[in-house]
Symmetry: C2
Subunit: 319 residues, 2 copies
């Protein structure tokens, strides 16, 4: 396959495993690279820059193909991003996914070091900002996505709107978990797809088996949006805690009241010990399309096969 | 183009102009039929069955091609559906779109009279019910849609999930306004597309010019979901009234408090007199993709052209 994204990143298939807190780690990222896509080691979950270095080195022992690093830009979280950048440059990383706030302050050091920067956004106006700041590509995330999908706008509208609004290549994320979704995103004008939930439920992801099995059993109605009322909308798995958060929100709860329920430590308990009701954790609505826990290679091969059969079907329909 | 929907309905293109309160009337419906798709005269807005008869007759003077009638099944609204059905059978209508509640009680009379029944639903489980009741096809509506899109699930997830859950053909609605969207929906497994907002902004729609011009200027962020808190989620245009409704809802307003703002008479004032802030009115987020007010024929020709170029682009990408 050939798009501006496969050319830009020098990869076989325009499939990205987006940065995921606690999930984007060496074995998964290396497996995606080996299968012809690209994954991003997610810096924000390492306690120190040296821990990030160690995981980059582990990934590089597992694959010779390009891998990326994800940087979260957040005014709330005190992340040692300058040090993370030193480490990633040092270790020869030349592809970075930025997400969260405006990545402007890191752009110069990244571009001066020939890093390809892909910024991830939940709305058209931020895609325009990313282009103006010099990003090489932009990832647009629809309301289907796990984590922070911004406004209530679905990918069917958001993807073509973004494609029409910038000149840099657009990668589509949110709601994509199979070859039909990939074909749809490319039809809408995207030149690549980002998947996250699909890669959570793979052999190589370091999530507890309980989480993967919950995903296999979940339907499209088993995720929902919380934290609307505190201006930090996020799509999470339906469980005791997230339902409690929603209920508190409907009664006008403050951030302070919600914080004990939504804090990140609780998600770690879910991911590490498989205690599914321990906290809120991000999951995309594409979970309804996930029915197995294959290897990453099997996921990507199946997606490419299905995208090709989708295209054959389309050629027949359109005569 | 050829799918089970073009065969079932005997139309050239699998494009439906879905039933729309106050909008689905003879000139628009006839224009869609003439252009190779199919439209639905929306019975619920006629005061009497005889008014419906008159508009069906008008449509039939304007086109010899098949047209349909939309029936709203609602326990709240007292609609003379039995009489509407008598009229539509009498006038030779053989394609009906049902929407709202379970259409079971009308199924026998419709099927006994060889009517093709297409039921419109906002969730997978209702699609399964429609199939069990004997519907010939089902329309699945994602969160992108104007009116009542059910849960917060985007079309990228909802369309393939529905396709995987029923054997009858699936038509996709919500967020589709151009050829890229049509190609995407077909990629996801749909065999037809339903568009509503796109047809609102056409020469033949009987909406006030102010509404059409508002749509031309609107972005993907100019619609939002209201009435979540009263269990009747609906996507509407952003205006003074809908923003007021949202604000009241955030303070826990009751149905009684909201009713004066959300009642249908206000929408009629918007549609008829072009007083854009007079009331809440349904509009899909696909409005962000609508930039002109062409004829229905131009809309459909452009969509088919664009879907074909999309397919050519896909064939190049996939090699």
């Amino acid at each position: 396959m050939k798009t501006r994204i496969t050319e830009l990143l020098n990869i076989e298939y325009p499939i990205l495993c987006g940065g995921m807190f606690r999930v984007g780690r060496a074995p998964l990222v290396a497996a995606v690279a080996e299968a012809g896509g690209i994954g991003f080691i997610t810096s924000a979950h390492y306690e120190t820059p040296e821990d990030l270095r160690e995981d980059i080195r582990l990934a590089k022992r597992l694959t010779k193909k390009p891998i990326g690093v994800n940087l979260i830009v957040s005014p709330r979280k005190k992340l040692p991003n300058d040090e993370f950048i030193e480490v990633l440059l040092d270790e020869g990383i030349r592809i970075v996914e930025t997400a969260g706030d405006n990545p402007g302050k890191y752009m110069k050091v990244l571009k001066d070091n020939d890093v390809t920067v892909i910024h991830k956004v939940p709305a058209v106006r931020y895609a325009k900002t990313a282009e103006r700041l010099g990003a090489d590509a932009v990832i647009i995330i629809g309301t289907e996505a796990g984590g922070h999908p911004g406004m209530d706008v679905g990918g069917l509208v958001l993807i073509p709107q973004t494609v029409d609004s910038v000149n840099i290549p657009v990668i589509a994320g949110g709601g994509i978990a199979d070859g039909r979704g990939m074909a749809a995103a490319l039809s809408l004008g995207a030149e690549g797809v980002l998947m996250a939930s699909r890669f959570m439920a793979t052999q190589e992801s370091l999530l507890h088996e309980n989480v993967k099995q919950w995903m296999v059993g979940a339907s499209e109605l088993d995720t929902f949006l919380i934290q609307r009322t505190i201006g930090s909308t996020t799509r999470v798995a339906k469980n005791e805690v997230s339902q409690k958060v929603l209920e508190l929100e409907s009664r006008g709860a403050t951030v302070e009241e919600l914080l004990p329920l939504i804090k990140g430590e609780r998600a770690i308990e879910v991911f590490t010990n498989g205690n599914l009701d321990a906290g809120v954790w991000s999951c995309g609505s594409s979970v309804g399309l996930i029915h197995d826990v294959p290897t990453v290679k099997e996921v990507i091969e199946q997606i490419i096969d299905d995208a090709k059969s989708t295209l054959s079907r389309m050629n027949i329909i359109m005569g």
